[in-house]
């Protein structure tokens, strides 16, 4: 079947329930899925944040200090380190007044990818291009 493209769309904020975080960790799992697939088969998720899903992505999170849990910031960096495409909706950042430069990157850890702030139309396209879409 070759590659199967997926769109993971996070539409609820981080740090309430765990689902929005599980979106990131499930996407990262694409890296090890080959052990369960036939040779040549792959899964390629694109991780998209829209609506209130853009809340809780900012730099400087102290979740480990305050609640003893891995921060979403750390999970996002891990996503970049495994070369995931991560898209954040530009219109929604603007709506909530969140500056683009407050979004973390993983450059210091050697990641080639960065989180891309894109218009919603590009996220719509990722959803259209995907064989399946998963809303978190």
């Amino acid at each position: 079947m070759g590659d199967v493209k997926l769109a993971f769309v996070v539409q609820r904020p981080q740090y309430k329930g765990e689902t929005s975080r599980l979106a990131i960790t499930h996407a990262i799992a694409y890296q090890t899925v080959e052990i369960l697939l036939e040779d040549g088969d792959t899964v390629t998720p694109t991780l998209c944040f829209i609506g209130e899903g853009v809340l809780g992505l900012q730099k400087g999170q102290k979740a480990m200090d305050t609640y003893g849990i891995t921060s979403t910031e750390t999970h996002l960096k891990n996503a970049l380190l495994v070369d995931l495409d991560v898209l954040v909706c530009k219109e929604d950042l603007e709506k909530y007044g969140i500056p683009e430069d407050s979004i973390p990157d993983a450059e210091e850890m050697g990641a080639d990818k960065t989180i891309r702030v894109v218009p919603f139309s590009e996220i719509q396209k990722a959803i259209e291009d995907a064989k399946h879409v998963l809303f978190f």
Binding site: V9, Q11, R12, G51, E52, Q124, I127, F135
Partner: protein, 98 residues
């Protein structure tokens, strides 16, 4: 794309349905989403019912709540679990649970 969207709440906290475009959009009202098919809030039917002609409501979830099929808006087709399976496989390519 042909997208079947499941709506399971009466108050929807995400605006995804307002933004997503699909050539064919289906809305399947389940759980507390069934109230979109039956309630006239302040005398008005749910704006969700204007979004597409492809509207479905799950009969088991109406019955659970004591709602008669005669209370369902005429635009909405009453379906059961088996019908939902057919919708997923035959009418839509992708699904979304909002």
């Amino acid at each position: 794309m042909k997208l079947g969207v499941f709506v399971s709440d009466y108050t929807i906290t995400v605006d995804t349905l307002d933004r997503l475009k699909a050539e064919k959009l289906g809305i399947i009202l389940v759980a507390n989403g069934v109230y979109h098919a039956t309630i006239k809030e302040n005398g008005k039917t749910s704006p969700l019912l204007d979004k597409t002609p492809n509207l479905y409501v799950l009969s088991e979830d109406l019955q659970t709540r004591g709602i008669a099929e005669s209370d369902v808006d005429k635009r909405v087709k009453v379906v059961n679990y088996g019908d939902v399976v057919d919708l997923i496989f035959n009418e839509y390519e992708k699904t979304a649970w909002l």
